[in-house]
Symmetry: D3
Subunit: 244 residues, 6 copies
């Protein structure tokens, strides 16, 4: 891996795009964040409601779940609206489930109590890495909603529903070089594409590596994980600033 | 009608909420506008493609259509996502069709040529008047996309696909008083609710009045129309500034 | 507006088509009417059931709703069946909602008690004006069902759930001339098309005017409303005779 | 089997209900019939179009198919509309397929040429035997549409697309007695229920017998078939009169 | 009918294909059977649960129902998966309902008690006669599940929920000759195709005869029923052996 | 990691369950395999057709895709059928996509030519690891279908569409111990669950690790990958034997 290689947008191979997190964007939701990874923009809202779905009632535990969607012209050419097609595609399902699992990995549902938080991640503009931006922004919205729950006495002030923070970043191998936080033009050329979800303490929640072109070997896997862990650390700092 | 009555947010009965139009919000779409009517925020994108749907081919005419949707937590309490429910509700259908008709009323489809423009209006935050904000913003996105078509030689420079501009505003009767541009708290209390779509020249494209509570008489109808025509004139000015 | 203009079917511009209302057509429903506006024929049935949907329980109020549909060969060329397509189109949704709102505008739901009346309007033959015929016939079926409710002691004899009657008629501008109750051949040529729902007392419930071709001005709007109010008065008389 | 048993409506066990066939009911369809078997009323329309579905093109053969549906309040208590539920139930599918097969059994598709006839059978009022009334009425609509095809030179005058007529009737065993043409109150009590589709020449197209209660033996089967064949003969005569 | 005619696979006209029934194939289900009629293979599982659907609660009766499906490449050319198409086809519905009715005809639901048994018949390989194989195998799975219910004290040891056994076989007329248990190559050539469901005591549960080509006469019907009754007797013996 | 720990079924932590692969199970499909990982049984069929989907035509490349499904009673308690629910769940989508990507990673689509191979993986019995069994069996069915294509001159004899083999295995951490090939009872207890898809040459195609309970650290990830690579090597040998 050569860190001297210059990328289309001038970044170093181990450099994130410009990250901005606008916390509290929504005046309606209990928590929200408009997050940008370069041109990728995702609006994350957290909806807090007392009570849990029927199948969870009476266990003294809360529930956190997520839904992901793209507005039709978030992408370079317009996609059909899933509501119009009448069904949700496989990719959407996959990402919604990934976001939900990633958040639940840092939530103590007992401490949350019988409350439900639904995170909606709507991609307003897409330029690669929408799922990692969504997870990173979703955490901020979640944290804000949990604070709202405490402020409104729906969660005890002393409870600690968040046991860690969580962020996500993509890494990939392009022309043999491992790179961090792929933009769309990079993503389509990547031989291997990996999304890594890491907690604030540096533990793994999800490692999803896929050989889009040629399969990868153990050394490449190691290099990608190194990049991801470092990138996630940076994202954790952006989250802390946003929540400060 | 007493224009001295003060409304919840301090406006006069014939006063619009704060209107902002951020043209070119999207870096992906050929035309776009993020429009606000107070807290109501709608992202309008226009997608320009050469060619028309198969049923229109060979007529030498273009096609303009629209889709409207709300993100789940645009509203005060979260709504289920229509894509998840697997079908589009009646209200969504109704508004999508209204926006499409409103735009087509000011388009000369012959001058547009065999090109298609799809306008997507995604409500990011809802506080009443989402359909009127959507129409007003959609026009700006449409105009921008038509300019893009000319700049890219898909529409002849000399063609005039836009024969007028179009804007929309809601009016209603609350406690017997006709008022302009209802916010959500006003909308739910209105006895009568009317959405009026007016061209830049002051002609009517749509008049949709509904007695939510008590039916209304001819005088009330007249007063509502007067308010709407004046409000639409103001909106037309905002559109002109955004497109300047 | 010249009332001397003769229309395709020989009517004067302010003349309804032949109206017939066959009350009690169905031997199954609590209320029913087969209504004709010329060749347009709509079968309206009212289904009375004790109780209300769960979200309304315990409020001491009743519920009136409506569904509209067309049989596939009601029209000149066969349409696909919505059940086969697996979803209801926007136009169907729109009209179902319009019928429901129109009826609720003349119902005192407190006086109805916790009872539900569902009106089904199935278009058996379509020649323009199906939604206005549906509303006009639906009122007759509704009134019959309410009487059934009283006869069967589900509504107190002294209760007055109907606070007014309601009828609807279409008006439009064809070649510059405002006309009443458009047949299909007129409807497709109309520059402006308006459906007006009026109570027996002459108050407006819905005013839905749409510029199909050129936008319309205030004078045209006035002329259309005058025609509609007079036409609705005639329809109210037909309803009275049917219910006598 | 005792033919002296009197039924709820006074009929003999081998007697049809009152049969009426109003041919040409629809002013829109190429063929139509409003058929009644007692209170059961089915509107059958035939839609004739040139050409066949893509998978049949170029074989020189025509296509006949059918769709069956019930309006929501055709029955004693209102059913949900299949279009609203978003899917067609098993019973509806089954009957649509049965009607289509029954009609195709008497059609020479070569003689029909590359034309398509779609029969819609919409049940307006249901009191048992809706599928048999539908088949019997559908044949009349089909014959009328084929005549229309000849009159409009879409089928050669010399062609004979109909090789026979077809009618259908239900039979069943109630309290041990085989009976013809069951009304709803009989149908629900029947131990065995059989629908038999017979051509004008007395040949079987479909025999669908079902033990709703106790299984039936060979003698009962023989008695039911005898009743059905005689009843179908009567229906064939009603069809002839309607088409005369 | 000549019994000397030799069929494609060398069978006599009144001879079944090779029948095998592997009881208890599934280690998960309360009852199961993998049944083969020649190359046709159907996996039948019976799922036993305490309780009944809400609409049956409190009547002291059990419920037996069935679902039929084919895996996509059970057939000679791959079919689209119904789950992917998002709806169940008419044929699938029809067969599922047929299996359910056939089983219920031999079940005393009072003796079953408030328990539900769902039979799933998944066709793994199809070579004609899948519905008859499914019914025949489903009975074995059902009997096994009922025994499981007794062994697990969910049904009283003394109860007799099964009042008879049930099996099914297809018969058809090919080139004028009635034949038993049609393989796919025979099925597609059959002029008439009949599925007959018969109890162990020789009574009819279902008789479903369809003229695929020419309508059939009474003598042909008689010959087909004779073949079916004899074939069903053989199947009953195979069931007994499997359950021994 | 202690390899002395004994598991519920007596296996060592690095030991696969009993693996069987019955190649050519289906007499209908061009390729097939019934694979077992212990009690988990998946029927994999490969359907070979000339030509590719329209969006791929003319590129001289083939297409390989996969669909995964479970029969309703493959699991310990019956699941609703996705075709009945009318939509495919997120998990099903995810696994279908995973199988397709895994297979495409070892296919040279140019060498395959414009042919399509669809792999269906239907789980007949589920006891954990269904997706890994499906991938492993799918490869065998794919290889058989490619051989069929060569034997039938749809692929040139000299072409080498398979550039490697592919197999998959699950690994997980239970009570702190990394283990290979989790059975269902282990899977539900695993803190971390990882599915690893590896080629015959030992390269990674997919690495999908998920913290179901506590997030995992880098050392645990290393241990899991070691186990998976060794297990996949064993599976590769089983595949070779099946294809010999």
């Amino acid at each position: 891996m050569s860190e001297n290689i210059t990328r289309a947008d001038g970044r170093a191979v181990n450099q994130l795009r410009e990250i901005t997190i606008e916390r509290g964007w929504s005046e309606q939701a209990e928590g929200s964040a408009l997050i940008s990874f370069g041109k990728t923009k995702v609006l994350c809202t957290a909806s807090f409601t007392s009570g849990v779905p029927r199948w969870m009632t009476g266990k003294g535990k809360g529930w956190v779940t997520a839904e992901y969607a793209m507005i039709p012209r978030s992408t370079n050419s317009r996609m059909d609206r899933e509501a119009v097609k009448g069904k949700i595609g496989g990719r959407t399902h996959e990402i919604s489930r990934l976001i939900g699992r990633s958040l639940r990995a840092v939530v103590n549902t007992k401490a949350l109590g019988e409350n439900t938080i639904v995170i909606d991640c709507d991609v307003l503009q897409a330029d690669g890495g929408t799922r990692t931006a969504a997870i990173t922004g979703a955490y901020v919205a979640l944290a804000e909603a949990i604070q709202w729950g405490k402020d409104n006495n729906l969660i005890p002030k002393s409870a600690e529903p968040l046991i860690d923070s969580v962020a996500a970043v993509s890494v990939g191998i392009i022309d043999g070089t491992p790179m961090l936080d792929l933009a769309y033009v990079e993503d389509v050329r990547a031989e291997t594409d990996m999304n890594v979800v890491v907690t604030g303490r540096g533990l793994f929640v999800e490692v999803q590596g896929t050989a889009e072109g040629a399969p990868f070997d153990r050394n490449e896997l190691t290099a990608l994980l190194d990049l991801a862990v470092a990138g996630a650390e940076d994202l954790t700092n952006f989250q802390r600033q946003a929540l400060a």
